[in-house]
Every structure is written in C-alpha cells, then in structure tokens.
Amino acid sequence: MVKKNLSGNEAVAQAAIASGVKLISGYPGTPSSEVIGSIWKKEIPGVTVEWSTNEKVAFEEAGACSWAGQRALVTMKMSGLNVAYDSMISMVYSGGVGGFVIYVCDDPGVAAGMPEQDVRGFATMSDIPVLEPSSVAESYSMTAYAFELSEAIGGPVMLRSVTNVSQSHAIIDIPEIPAIAPREPKLIRNTLKYTKAGAKICMDQHQELLDRLDAAEAKLHADGMHQLHLGEKGKLGIVSVGAASAFVDEALNIVKEAGMNVDGISTLKVACSNPVAHAEFKEMLDTCCCFVVLEENEGYVEKSLYLDAYKADKHPHIYGKEDHTLSRIGSFNAMTCAAAIAKALGGELKVDTKQVAEAEALCSARPIGVCAGCPHRGVYMALNEAVKRLGYKKDDVMITGDIGCTILGMSPPFHTLWTEVAMGASVAMAQGFVHAGVKTPVFSTMGDSTFMHAGMPPLLNAVQQNTPITAIIMDNGWTAMTGMQVNANTAKEFQQNETKNRVDVVEIVKGLGVKQLFVADPYDLEGLTKTLMEAAQLPGVKVVVTRRECAIQAGRRKIKYGKVHVDQDKCVNCKICINKTGCPALVYDGNKVFIDNGQCNGCGICTFVCPKKAIIKEEC
C-alpha cells in the first residue's frame, strides 16, 4: 500500500481526484482552504478546480455538475455554508445524479474566528447524510465513500470536518479506490425533479428526500461504517463521533491509569450524526446501563440517543451536554473525554492547573496585529485622522467593518472599526445606520475579495436608494487572510492560468452606477485623509477604492517601496510613530527608535506621523 504525508484537507482533494471527480469548486476559508489550495495550480487532466466568487456560486456549479451525471466536490468553511444554504436546501430536495460531496469545515475552539456554529444542523435540517471523519486517514476514506454513498442514494452527501482534523498532517496508507469509467455529461429534462413549481412537486420531492436518508441509513449499517464494539451487559457505553472518536482510546487509558475499571465497556464510534445509527443504538441500549456521548459542539448524536432510548422505553443516564457533563463550547482533548468517562464510572479526574495558570498570567498580551507595510494600516490611520479633522469625536462616527484582514482595524492602536458580521454586511449596515437617523458621516470598509463575494448587492442597493454612505474598498489584490488565494480582482499574471480573466474592482463599482468614485493610495496618508474628508462631505453614495498590493505577497517578490531610516539626531524618542502605526518594523530598544529593515518594505506611512520629521524615506 502507498503511504503519503497529507493534511486532512489534502486527503479530501486526493481522494476526490482518485474517485473521478469532474469539478472541485469552493471559496477560501480557514480551516478548509487547502483542499483547493493544494491542487489549484496542478492542471489535473479532466478536472476543473476553481476558486469561485462565493460559496453559493461554487455550490450551484457543483450541483449542476452532479445533475449532469458527473462527480463534484464543493468546499468551504462553516460560514460559507450559511451563504450557500439557500441553494443547498433546494438542491437536496431535488437530489442528484453524479456523486455530489459538500465538504464543510467547522471550527470548534475557534482557531480562525467567526461563530462557533455546528454545520451538522444544516445537514439535519436538509435531511442529508453527514459523514464525520475523525482523522486524516478517514478524511481520505470517507471522501471516497461519500461519492459512493451519494450515487447510491441519488442525492448530495455532506462531509463535515473540523480544524484539528482538516489541518492535521499525517502519514497515511492510501487505500485503493476503484476507478470509475469516464462519463459523458447527460442533460436530463425532468421538471418534476429539478424545479419547485407546484405543491405536489415539492411534497413528492420531500418524500424522495426522506427515502434517500433511509437508504443512507441502511447502507451505512450494511457497510459497517459505524464501529460497534459491544462489551459486557450492564456496563458503560461510550458513543462518539467525529474528532472526539480519536480521543476515546487515550481517554480510556487515562481513566485506567487513574485506577478505575474500564473492563466490559462498550464503544460505538458512529460515522455520522445524520442519518441516526438506529440499529447500532439499539444494540448499545440493549447492552449498556448508562452512556457517555463524546461529541464536539452540539449534541446531535446525544439527542438521537435520548430519543431512541425513550422509544425503547429505556432510561439510562446519558452523560453529555444535556446533563452538563460536557460543554457545547470549545474543542475536546483526551482529558475532556476521560473526565466524562470517569464521572460516568463514579470517579473523578482532577487536574490541578493553579501553577500553570499563574505562569500564563505572566504572559504579555499579544493582540492580533497588522503586518509591517500593510496597506490597510494607511486606511485606518487616514480614517481616524479624517474623522478628527472633520471636527468629530471618534465615538461619533460609525465605521462598519467586514470579514477578512480588513477587520484588523478593530485592533489597537487603531480602534477604527465598530462591527463585523458577515461577508458584505458592512455596506448594508452602513445604510441601516443612516436610516436609524445617524447624522454624522457613516463609513463602511471591506476588502476586494469580500466585495466580489457579497459586496455588490448592498452597494447597488445604496446607489438605487441614494443613501449617503462612504464605502471604502481596500483593494490589496488578494484574498489574504485565508492564505493568499486569488479572486476576480487579482492581477491577471497571478490567475490560475493564461485563459483566466481579471475583473477590475473599479470597473465594477462604475458599472454599479457609482458616480462619486475615488481611487487613492493608502501609503499616501495625507492624500488619502483628504480624499476621505472630501468624500464624507459629499451627498449620496461615495466609494473610495484604496489600492496597494498585500505587503506579504509583494514581499514574497522582494518588492520594496523605498528605504526608511530614523534620523537619530532629530528623533526625540516620543514614540508617536509606534503608538500611531503599531508597525512591527518600528523598534524601540529602550534607548532609541529604529527601523527593522528585515521587516520594513518602505511603505513610508510612519514618515507622516513623526512630529520632528525624523523618519526619512528615500527612493530605492
């Protein structure tokens, strides 16, 4: 058997390719991005790999590909499914033809920001199977199985991973996947299946949807996807799912080492929360006296077990979320699981963290910062300065924020942004604040990728309604925060290949009917400040596009915009430059302020704030 060193996300991509996938589409989002990221430039024959404009677009493309009989994979983070869900709920009722796998990563423990939501709720609401890999190896095997299951039942299958599985790297055995014959696309005219026009159509589709879920339950059982190990009658049962399953063995060892008897315990590692593993639950309920359910975030498996126990007229104690043994918040580790098992066994595991908590209290806070040379820094500083020069207090002017690196303007030393909700929300919310009666200027901020993703409809709305806002689009040319992916606005030379096009964000703004459009340089702090002041005082919709490439990406190509140094004769160590810019390239060593040339890209923003003109930029 071949062994490979893969991450969970890479395993999904490789297994999909081995399974004969025709289209892999998605939108970047930590912790899911490497599925497409790892193969995006690979030119795999017969496979289209695409960073789509947003998750909804990616989803619809993949769904149609399935409807034409081909296999398709769509990838996104959990927040992305919120965007794609409008189409998902409709498409699941229609089902599919070719295997359709919806790969979504949740983030228990919140390594990457955004709500700690559990997308399995969407699978439950949609009545589709959701496979939940517990390891890198299962990320591979379950992807292949998901295509098979999808075609067997004739509908989409969700593959739900989490950060510590999708981002883990492991050396795994690559299982043989039977190759599928190349398929010609089929155009199937069947309005009863593929439209929703009529009550009967919709209710028939609803029945077929439920039948597919029943078929999935039977197949998962027949294929032995749920790992059931029955122990002795009258002993504890442990039911686990997803990432939590990987901790069971280690947790049992901890409990055993603590002197508790773990003999005769039954375990059930379910492959999914939906469909419910009724047959396996029945065997567990017939065997075990009580249960521990190990499941990160929401208790979908746990609630199903309660329901099956109720229907079987059994009343075992279930240790989990409902009795507050385990939390719905955060990710698990072996100790979390061991503590729950110990409690169910009548014991207690104590971990004394007093000493280490005291040690952690000595740590200096390390707020999320803005990179050296980041063009966004200029925007936050110019906004703060413009608000001041217009005669307003900072707390009088609403500046909405959006998703991505641009939200870093909420952090010190800027404290510029007030809100972060969802992709594109900044522009619509700015309008809402105006309608609320706010008399001071209202600004919104978002990046270029966020604008492409979901910023166009709210800006169109502002133009149509003629609502006075100043929308700032911070164009750094990349989808940066998720690890530097391209979007439609990324320069042509960095697109996937020479056949792809670049669509200039400025042209789109013009096309949306914006008449008052400004394009400004965020490295020119004075110029941008004046532009923002001018825009804020005009009536109607104003858009300011600030343009400079992401400093990380430009830095990778060794681009420097100048050479900056501190004139030590003029510098009075006031540290205003550090206080105002928070730039990591400005260093104070206790004696003097100087520039770390390794980090400085010569943006020169700091030269604008020095009251002694001691920071000098020279062209290089």
Partner: protein, 192 residues
C-alpha cells in the same frame, strides 16, 4: 513500534516554529514512525501566537495534546513559552529559546514582559525540567529554528524516536541549496 512521544511547540508567526515541526515529521516519515502534526496558525499573518502539536509513535490518535500530556515543549519565544506549561508532563523537558518578540505595548513600556528568571521560576513551580537556550549562543549567520531543533535532540529523548541523522537528511532534502548554512546551524545546535 516506537514509544509514544508528544511535542507541544509554541512561538510567534514568522519565527519558523512550524518548520521545526515539519522537519520532525519528515524524519518520522522516513523512519516509518507514525506521526500526527497539527499546526495552529491563528488569524495573524505575522507576529501572532503560533503553536504546533506533534504526536509521534501512535497509529490512531487525536491531534490535540491533553493538559500535562506532552513529553517535550519546544518554545521559540520567551514569553509565549509560558502558554505551553499547561501541556507538559511533570518532569517533562521544557526547552526555551530565549528570543524576545515584544508586543507593541511592552515596547512602549505600557505592559510587562516576563524575565528569564520569572520563566525559570514558573517552570520550577510547574515541576518541569527547563533547558534555556540563550540566543547569544547562536552562531553568526545560523538559522535559529534549525539550531534549536538540534538543541532539542541534545537535551531531550526526541532522538530516541527520530534520529539526528534522519532529521539532518530531512533538512538537506528540503533545502538542497541552503544545505551548508542549515547543516552548520544543526551541528552548532547539537552542541548548544
């Protein structure tokens, strides 16, 4: 089957802590030692807290190291090292490269930063064995992360799981062009 060995690594984005983890993983791959490597980069592109968890020697394993479960902590930044103490076994090796990556508020004198003695004191109270690697001992031109990796081979039983030769091979294979500098860094670290 090799014995289990769990490593918890902390540092600041841009220091190359994940490269250390990657080299250990490549070496374990060459030696057929099971390995799960889980990096957490957080949200910041540069300068934010970074951690990595390596579980060596176990076929099926959860990616996260439990509190007081790690055999070894490798820290590349003095202050951040304190965040790893929670995960280190009593008596475990706490190897700290004393580089100081000061947050802005520390630089401005608005926030405190722990001294080396405070970190040593915290390690002693936590009952772990601290090995402090003074950044001043880093030879001119050496790569600090490769230097530290080699120092870990010297000061812990990591070498019983993945040999120094296997790691050296991984480094040479990964950077054929920079081999000379990296091997110099590695050899120096073995003596650190």
């Amino acid at each position: 089957m090799a014995k289990n060995f769990d490593i918890y690594m902390v540092g600041v984005g841009g220091q190359g802590i994940l490269t250390i983890a990657d080299m250990i993983m490549r070496a374990s791959e060459a030696l057929d030692v099971p390995c799960n490597y889980f990096p957490t980069k957080g949200m910041a592109q540069r300068g934010g807290f970074v951690k990595a968890q390596l579980k060596l020697g176990q076929e099926t394993v959860g990616p996260d190291i439990r509190p007081f479960g790690a055999d070894l902590v490798i820290a590349m930044e003095l202050c951040e090292s304190l965040k790893a103490l929670r995960y280190l076994k009593k008596g475990g090796k706490f190897i700290v490269f004393g580089h100081k990556w000061m947050p802005t508020d520390v630089m401005l004198g608005k926030a405190a930063y722990p001294s080396v003695d405070e970190v040593k004191d915290a390690a002693a109270k936590a009952g772990v064995e601290m090995v402090y690697i003074d950044p001043a001992t880093l030879p001119e031109g050496a790569a600090d992360n490769i230097f530290l990796l080699a120092a870990c081979l010297k000061h812990s039983s990591l070498g019983d799981i993945v040999s120094a030769d296997a790691i050296k091979n991984a480094i040479v294979t990964r950077w054929p062009k920079g081999a000379e500098r990296n091997i110099m860094s590695f050899e120096a670290g073995l003596k650190a």
